[in-house]
């Protein structure tokens, strides 16, 4: 009764497949002996050509979309966008100076051999942005663990919250396929809805997510690309104006945005992993609460952290350094600005409550959906936004929050932190943890 599908795969392929290396050859050199070369090969699938600077050139619109994990600018919605990330291991520096062994994803410039990203994982994973209506081709290449060559873990990408997901691209290993070390898989998403999502590896999720395979992901609404001067129910759209959702009235307009992901590490778990010890799942307890992969005060540093681990001499001073913690959580705004916080949590253990004690947070969306209420006679749902100073998030939850910077706040500094006050620490070091600042120019 099993019917083998006969459909010719290549006949209507919309993407081209670019072989990037004979991965087995390239990476085995890195790992040394003991690795059995598989049939694996690294490749990227993307519908259009790419330029030489690590930027993906869309095949249809010809628009450039940066993918370096730090800054991204989108001028117009291209029909397709391609990303290439690498799953592997590395070291992440806690704010008390402790480097912790991690798993993670790192970005890859086009044409680059994924093997060059070995031991260079990031926290959080490269920021993925798309525009509603785009098709996303997300290639994930699995480079073997360097510190744990005894493990042969596959990885996957789970676009958390993707509406009407297909099983094969959902990334749950039990229900689909996961690329082994030295292999690549391209995930396809037809991005129908805007919102703040997140992504992570779903293979051995309790372990791989605690180890750091988590990242920010959000989708911009089509409303951003209305023609200049378009009327939005009394609100005039100007080219370049941006919104959180297709609100129809400009009520989710913002001037600047920042993804703010709750991450947290259990130092003991990571050290057990590094030391090839049994993993303490039941005893898992996070001791390093973070925003975007950093504890305070590192959260407000704007430089990119290099992956430089003194415990592993191969990464220091050998030309192997790479950025590992690219994302600052410093919110730098001007008086009168509307700041969109795309808050998500991929903590694996705890709920966290965030507070903004001075500035009100207007919640305009949650779980990738604009907050709407009853139709009060206008023919469309009313807005169900609300103001609050605190939000509580468990793992896998997200909120879209707009903060109005007061006109008279020039030079002020506002704090945003967890009111689980015991989490304002970097392990034993106090005055740290899950906190960041809003600096008003």
């Amino acid at each position: 009764m099993n019917m083998i599908r006969e459909r010719e795969k290549g006949s209507k392929m919309t993407s081209r497949r670019v072989l990037l290396s004979s991965a087995a050859l390239a990476v085995c050199t890195w790992v040394g002996s003991g690795m059995t070369a598989s049939a694996g090969e690294f490749y990227q699938q993307c519908p259009g050509p790419v330029n030489a600077e690590g930027e993906v050139l869309d095949g249809v619109g010809g628009q450039v979309i940066r993918m370096d994990g730090t800054t991204t600018s989108i001028d117009l919605p291209a029909a397709s966008v391609c990303y290439h990330i690498v799953g592997g291991d590395g070291f992440i520096r806690m704010a008390d100076g402790t480097p912790l062994y991690s798993f993670g994803f790192s970005p890859l410039a086009d044409g680059q051999n994924p093997g060059t990203r070995a031991l260079k994982s990031n926290l959080p994973a490269p920021l993925i942005r798309a525009v509603q209506g785009q098709k996303v081709y997300l290639t994930m290449s699995n480079v073997p663990f360097i510190i744990r060559p005894d493990l042969f873990d596959p990885h996957s990408v789970h676009w958390h919250g993707f509406p009407n997901a297909s099983a094969v691209f959902d990334g749950v290993p039990d229900n689909s396929i996961s690329p082994n070390p030295l292999s690549s898989m391209t995930y396809f998403y037809n991005v129908a809805r805007p919102g703040t999502f997140m992504y992570h590896c779903h293979v051995e999720a309790a372990e791989h997510m605690q180890m750091g395979m988590v990242g920010n992901l959000y989708v911009e609404p089509a409303q951003d690309f209305l023609p200049d001067g378009a009327d939005l129910n009394g609100f005039t759209h100007n080219t370049g104006d941006r919104y959180a959702y297709n609100d129809g009235d400009g009520s989710t307009y913002f001037d600047i945005e920042i993804p703010l992901q709750i991450n947290s590490y259990d130092g003991a778990f990571h050290k057990a992993h590094y030391n090839v010890q049994p993993l303490p799942f039941a005893e898992m307890e996070d001791t390093y609460p973070m925003f975007n992969g950093r504890g305070y005060p590192d959260t407000i540093r704007t430089d990119v952290f290099l992956n430089a681990n003194p415990d592993f001499p191969g990464t220091t001073g050998t030309g192997l350094e790479t950025f590992a913690q690219p994302l600052s959580s410093l919110i730098s705004a001007a008086p009168g600005d509307k700041v969109l916080l795309r808050i998500s949590s991929l903590s694996t253990v705890d709920y966290y409550t965030l507070v903004s004690p001075d500035l009100k947070m207007q919640v305009v969306g949650q779980g990738s959906e604009q907050r709407v209420g009853p139709d009060l006679g206008a023919g469309s749902p009313s807005k169900a936004y609300y103001n609050t100073h605190q939000l509580t998030l468990g793992g896998g939850q997200s909120y879209d929050v707009i903060i109005d910077i007061p006109d008279n706040a020039s030079g002020d500094i506002f704090f945003l932190y967890t009111s689980n006050l015991n989490q304002l620490a970097n392990d034993q070091q106090d005055y740290g943890g899950m906190m960041t600042e809003i600096h008003v120019q």
């Binding site: 019917m3 993407s15 009407n164 309790a206 694996t348 959906e369 209420g373």
Partner: protein, 482 residues
Amino acid sequence: MAKISISKAALAVSAVALGVTGGAFAGVPGYVDPTPGSANFDLTVDAGYISAADGSVIYMWGLHTPDRSLMQYPAPTLIVNEGDEVSITLTNCLDGEAAAENTSLIFPGFDVTATGGVAGAATREAAPTCNAADSVTYTFTADHAGTFLYQSGTNISVQSEMGLGGALIVRPTGFLHRDEMDIPDARPTADPTVATEDPFNYVPQSGNQIAYGTGTDFDYEYLYVLTDIDPDIHEMVRIGDMAGAKSRDGKAVYWMINGRAGPDTFFANDVPWLPTQPYGSMTQMQPGQKVLVRTVSLGRDLHPFHTHGNNLRVVAVDGNLLSSVPGSGIPDLGFSDFTVSGIPGQTFDGVFEWSDLGMGWDIFDEATQHPVEWHEPSARTDGTHGGVIPVSLPGIPDLTFGGFYSGSPYLGSFGQLPPGEGGLNLNGGFFYMWHSHNEKELVNNDIFPGGMMTMLIVEPFLDGNGDQLVIPRGSIFEKTAN
């Protein structure tokens, strides 16, 4: 009172024997009283044991009806009709247990009258004599529909942890089971890039399957009782150290849905090797249908419940419809989220829908799913008829395969798998994990995977033989003896 020790051999039953077929899973198994206008249940408290999926055995206190000789975890699901006079008689057979003590039941959301037994802090209590003369009868009018919980009202922090809690479902007036589930008659014509509340045009079917009012109709319903267990507390109660049990902080290391830790959650209801854990939680639907998700949180911790596949639209909390117009039945104050917190002591109801709307490729196999109306070119309003998956998938040597993967990315299809892989997906359905997203809770003590995790199966319309695949109707019932 018989104590049994669960045979671990039963757990050696290979997952291949899961039997992922329709009948055994669908619906909310529970107890109903067919008598019009009233619902009478006899519940007995007994001690017993449950099995966690890592092989450990946990001492429990649980309830059961006269139909069963063993206690069950969670407590029996009671299904009554709006307006029923409900009467529940509780008999306490904890006599002989080292920590035997009074017990009672509370029913948050209802005006309960208790008779018999002895006075307690919250309500009247039954002494541990196993004697009907000491029983307590709780009566109330089920005056509003919804999903509710009931649990111990005595020494609640310990007795709830020990297992004395379950779900109570009140069907709304006018509720009538359908013989046939809805299948949309046409694909949505709306722009797939625009979110729409209800993109499907349903063919009206017989019956009136609603949770509250007309805005909460569903094709299938499932119950998810979320609990967490600290086995040290259970051991202290077993040896009679009640002071120790009370003074512990409590640190759960088991997380369960319907009294089972994953992957036992995948098993059918009433499998013989889990005699005290009768309720599975594997969920089935077909594209375009609506699943009512009834969630009851009886644990001590919050659990972020994540539905893979699509957002869940929450329509009611604690048995209260989220509506701006009382009596309208329309949940216009509901909200959509991909992860909803299960809050201790709270219930919520959500409606889950899934389709291939806007996926950008045609998930229906030309060969096997041809007679399906949705598959027809005229119905593919998004222009994807026959559109193949837009990327080529890695070759077999490059991949690790999940047991629920059919070998094909297409719905209702199968593909090549290496020897020994797959085999758990009989119809070529799409499987989605529903689970706590505090991923620490996806373990059974130190063993991954497991914990608070189950699966949704989106089944094709036709099975591998080309026959119509029917998921059985929304609920199955066991009649009470009284």
